[in-house]
């Protein structure tokens, strides 16, 4: 991979993780409210909007990334986002890392590394 492709890959990882975590943060506040009030509650707080901005950014970052790498490699390299989001969920939302999840994380990381080194 060229330095630019590597940079875009890392940037995609950052905005995707940022988006997912923002949506998680948005969704986990005010859960005691009724569905309609919960949506209103979420729209009045920054988290959901941060998530939307991250996703809009990701759209263009992904386009830029795909103009640098073959699509088949791109889709495989992008799988690392699953791993990063899971680790971030562990750090920020105290989500459990079961042995199945650790195994999945290791296998996906290894697979992404293999594809990346082959590029």
């Amino acid at each position: 991979m060229t330095p630019l492709a590597l940079f875009l890959w890392a940037l995609n990882m950052a905005v995707d993780t940022g988006g997912q975590l923002s949506f998680k943060a948005a969704a986990s506040q005010g859960v005691e409210l009724s569905p309609l009030r919960h949506w209103k509650f979420m729209f009045l707080r920054p988290w959901i909007w941060l998530g939307v901005c991250c996703y809009a950014g990701e759209f263009f970052v992904w386009l830029a990334f795909l103009s640098q790498v073959p699509l088949s490699s791109g889709i495989m390299l992008g799988s690392i986002n699953i791993v990063v989001i899971m680790l971030a969920g562990r750090l920020l939302f105290k989500e459990k890392l079961t042995s199945w999840r650790v195994a999945g994380i290791l296998l996906i990381t290894l697979g992404v590394a293999l594809v990346g080194l082959g590029e």
Binding site: L63, A64, P70, L71, I75, I108, G118
Partner: protein
């Protein structure tokens, strides 16, 4: 019910694949990658970018309706099968080479996704206070 799942996941896969193929066509047509206003205009003026949007939108709707019925673990795994279909179309449409590291790496990623799905299923089963309404639970009802 089984047919409902199979058709559902194939549709999801089709939308995801459509989105990625459209992304690639848009990216190629919008080159050179200049990160300026002209690049954005080339993207927005390209019909393929709307294919990508449709693919995303369709996948989102199908995914949400599938999750209402299907257990999350197997759904998660099935939703990542797009890896296979996208790789297939990449070779066919864009003449991308399928190298050994790519095949081996792709298989490891798929195996990893299966592990994560298995983990979610286990989690569901362990949480006995929430009975599964999907009927697809691996545990017989007590």
């Amino acid at each position: 019910m089984k047919r409902f799942y199979i058709i559902g996941f194939l549709t999801l896969m089709a939308f995801d694949t459509l989105a990625q193929i459209s992304f690639k066509y848009t990216a190629m047509d919008a080159e050179p990658l200049t990160f300026d206003a002209a690049w954005f205009l080339r993207i927005l003026g390209n019909p393929w970018v709307y294919g990508a949007l449709c693919g995303y939108l369709g996948a989102f709707v199908i995914w949400m309706s599938l999750l209402r019925h299907a257990p999350v673990g197997p759904s998660f795994a099935a939703s990542h099968l797009e890896l296979v279909s996208v790789a297939f179309f990449s070779v066919w449409l864009f003449n991308e080479p399928l190298t050994v590291p790519k095949i081996a790496g792709g298989l490891l990623i798929l195996l990893g996704v299966l592990c994560l799905a298995k983990g979610e299923e286990k989690e569901k089963v362990a949480d006995a206070s929430v009975p599964s309404c999907s009927g697809a639970s691996p545990q017989p009802p007590l």
